[in-house]
Symmetry: C2
Subunit: 172 residues, 2 copies
């Protein structure tokens, strides 16, 4: 199966300088501001816990398990129960700010405002743990055609590819 939470965290620590992690701080700040705007527009509340969860996801930009997040939020505050993290994640996913990677039992922040009618694929690097979020009109169309041909009315699309990102291939 997917790697364990502990492995994921260690992985992250040892690979912090991978291209995927570069500039995430700046992007995170902007994305967070945008998330606040979105929540205001939706008339929902980005509470401290939700905000902290989202921020953690943004700054790592690597898939984190719910228990990883609980651990990451602990320092400086009190111990956070898993259910609290799950509730925050549910909220963020509902608002299109986060995404569950089914193949990893892990969660990630979305940088592109989840245009829900589009097909978005997640490319998960097995080496550096980084995730790229890609959409293309070709993919969206192809999926739409496929579903139409089958008469299938889609509710949720899970498009996840694991493998090796370009950067990690270069690095052998």
């Amino acid at each position: 199966m997917a790697r364990t939470a502990a492995e994921r965290l260690q992985h992250e620590a040892s690979q912090g300088s991978c291209a995927h992690a570069v500039r995430q701080e700046e992007k995170a700040a902007r994305a967070l501001a945008q998330a606040e705007a979105i929540c205001r527009a939706h008339g929902v509340r980005l509470t401290p816990i939700r905000r902290k969860v989202l921020e953690t996801l943004y700054t790592t930009h690597k898939p984190l398990g719910a228990y990883d997040l609980a651990e990451a939020l602990e320092p400086g505050g009190r111990r956070i129960a898993p259910i609290t993290v799950y509730r925050a994640l549910d909220f963020l996913i509902e608002q299109g700010l986060a995404h569950r990677l089914a193949s990893q039992n892990a969660y990630i922040a979305t940088f592109q405002g989840d245009s829900s009618h589009e097909a978005t694929a997640f490319l998960i690097c097995e080496e550096c743990g980084g995730v790229d979020e890609v959409t293309s009109s070709a993919l969206t169309e192809t999926m739409a055609n496929l579903l139409n041909a089958e008469g299938f009315r889609a509710h949720t699309k899970v498009l996840e590819v694991t493998g090796r990102c370009a950067h990690c291939q270069d690095a052998h």
Copy 2:
């Protein structure tokens, strides 16, 4: 999250007459014979347990959890530990005979011989629980193009769509 094992089983029981279930017995018999041939060709053993797991998946053609399978295999024999089922599933998946639906934490038999370079999408009906396995050259190409453009070397592709199948839409 995905429905629990118990719900899944009850679901199956109450929806046994859905179109997805029709004719599965005949197909299952043929598929099983073919599976035996494949294993012989690969020089691996389709042991009784593995065979029974595969058969159960074939005859339901609905996603089953590992614990569902353990339960399903029990009657007539002795209690089977989860790990045994997981080992059988690992084997079947390795041989391209079964597939894990990551979004459901469940497993299903594959009818099309896993041509591993092709992109295969799984359409999962939320109403009847049936799963359709679809491939198209367009999908395969689109995915290949997308991955090429990103310089991403794919290892495993997870394409799962949940929604409503044509039959269940007709039935309102």
